[in-house]
Symmetry: C2
């Protein structure tokens, strides 16, 4: 069977982008590369809805998060990290590994963090230099109330709001200046429709002011050095030039659809996926679902990971299973990036077949697809080319 | 005019590799990716001529060097860094930035380091935990005597030999166990014929033993965590999957040529480039030239960077100019990776034209190409397909 990819990263790369990346390699210290990079910088500012420079790093999103820590803090400083999933926990573990005092703000997997808990943690730790939170927690499919948390942080002189938007940016309307985000981090292989290998971050003036006094050791991940270079359309170290070529093409694709179009499409695909799963009698795992990835509890009657493995082994279709605390118990369908209405129909149809093969038959065949199609029909009109 | 790339990184990517990377993206947590990754691991061990695991990182070569420092040393420990060029100096600056005590072993740009100086530095710093050296110093085109330095380091119980082979591995015969190299680092965009974005490192048992006591903070660049994952054909964080696809194809190409064939070709291309430049009355800059890149002093009579800029602006051909200490004074022609005999003819022919345009006419037209062709004819026979 054809290979189909509906995982929350890597996500599929459009043919136009694949073709752009297959062009012969340019040297990066050339006017041609600099022209491409300048256009990417403009496009990234548009996508990030920011006046700040958006820095391009050659690493995964995890690397960009490390760059933010290294470039903004000093050993022993306190950061409050909202848990509630694999990635929220990762940023706490990373802070510890780098010598910061990471205070975990607890949150059950599947829940959105209680803003009062963050407020309490800030009151308990008046010396906190940052709060970290995942806008979209990829491991649970939850959207955390980062806007409300940002309001708490905004009033504090020396505390930064750091948002992991790795599976959020480009999916819904995030604008760092408007939303009070001091550090926004994302990766290439999500809504940006690229292969993994690049990551991006933008910093507020408040964050740049902190950079001057930050003493954590850094070299590859030195954001001030990158900013100095990237303002000249260069990077501090050799960048992943083929991915930068792809980035220019993916930014063109996004521009053609427009931010409003992208956000509306992601909202529609997410709503349809949720409706489809529920119409099969399945419960959503995320209490506050993000529009990037839909997490669904497996029926108790079937084997752990049966949907994920069944799709992988019999339909050659990759979604995501559960990780860590919810391994085997949930499955996750991605719809961020290069997806359209018929991709959702396809994956729901495949899930129906696999569920029936696994012995779960508590639904009328076609019920999931039918419920989704009621929502998807709103997008089912010809778009400008 | 067509674009031609003869810089020491990025280097051209073969069409077969470009096409492989343009395949639809696979998810990395799949048996298909794991099969690809397992084959890459085997191929990398063959290329590195090592029994050790060769770790794949999603970053540039600079990132892999940082990974070695972070994973092997503790704050304040002494490392002796052979200077003599931009990259030798970079590893000293990086060591300082990461909180190590970097002792620079001085070396004039263009010279190979005097081994006695390294011996003296080791005697003066009996607590040194490592010596770093560039096998091929890309900024000067020099081959440093890393094998002799390795012999000095081998006798010391707690001192590692770290070799930057970013523009050396795949060019000539380097075998870490045989040559006494504890840490070998290379990048994707050089002899490996890939775009930038991946880097590779292998560690000796002696280096792995050090890893356990190393206290520098690390997270993204944690080699022990990578080893644990990569033994299972996975990576700790999302890898640059399209570049891994390309890597498999480039390893196939290298395997078809064979290590001996690769080394002989690079030797031939380097010898021809040197002979061609000298036949134009130009002096080589490197006292001990590496077979990866040929650095040539510009005639005093022409404008700084005239050859580099003339080729770029009028022939759409990128070589490299001089960096830092020799900016404007030398030009560098790369011949590592996807190059053959006619590429050398092409670049020498282009250099002849540019030199004459710049007013340097102290040679008979065709003299450079003619001298090179005497050497290149040895490789000018049909190869197995």
């Amino acid at each position: 069977m054809k290979y189909r990819l509906l995982s929350p990263g890597p996500t599929p790369v459009p043919e136009r982008v694949l073709t752009a990346m297959a062009n012969p390699i340019w040297h990066h210290r050339t006017p041609a590369f600099e022209t491409t990079f300048a256009r990417c910088r403009d496009g990234l500012k548009w996508l990030f809805q920011t006046q700040q420079e958006v820095l391009t790093l050659s690493c995964s999103g995890t690397g960009a998060f490390e760059a933010a820590y290294c470039s903004l803090f000093s050993p022993g400083e306190t950061v409050l990290c909202v848990a509630g999933g694999k990635f929220g926990e990762r940023w706490a573990n990373m802070a510890k590994a780098l010598g910061l005092n990471a205070v975990v703000v607890p949150c059950e997997w599947g829940d959105a963090v209680d803003v009062q808990r963050v407020k309490d943690a800030l009151d308990q730790h008046p010396d906190a230099k940052a709060v970290t939170v995942c806008a979209s927690e990829t491991s649970t499919g939850v959207r955390h109330p980062y806007e409300q948390i940002a309001k708490l942080v905004k009033g504090k002189d020396d505390c930064l709001m750091i948002v992991d938007a790795i599976t959020a940016l480009g999916v819904w309307d995030i604008a760092p200046e408007r939303d009070g985000i001091d550090v926004l981090v994302t990766g290439s292989q999500k809504a940006l429709m690229l292969p993994p290998g690049l990551a991006f971050t933008s910093l507020s003036d408040k964050a740049w002011a902190r950079n001057a006094k930050a003493k954590l050791p850094r070299y590859y991940f030195d954001l001030a050095k990158e900013k100095k270079n990237q303002l000249q359309n260069q990077t501090a170290y050799t960048p992943a030039v083929s991915l930068v070529e792809g980035l220019l093409e993916s930014l063109k694709l996004m521009h053609e659809e427009g931010l409003a179009g992208m956000f509306a499409r992601h909202q529609r695909l997410a709503a349809a996926t949720r409706a489809g799963a529920q119409a099969l009698g399945l419960a959503l795992f995320a209490k506050a679902p993000a529009d990037s990835v839909t997490s669904v509890l497996q029926p108790a009657s079937i084997k752990p990971d049966a949907v994920y493995k069944g799709l992988m082994n019999r339909a050659n279709l990759t979604i995501a299973g559960g990780q860590d605390a919810v391994k085997g118990k949930i499955f996750r369908v991605a719809h961020l990036g290069y997806y359209d209405e018929l991709d959702i129909i396809t994956v729901l149809g495949a899930i129906e077949i696999v569920l029936r093969q696994e012995g779960y038959t508590a639904f009328t065949p076609g019920a999931g697809v039918g419920a989704a199609s009621e929502i998807l029909k709103d997008g089912f009109v010809a778009k400008k080319a």
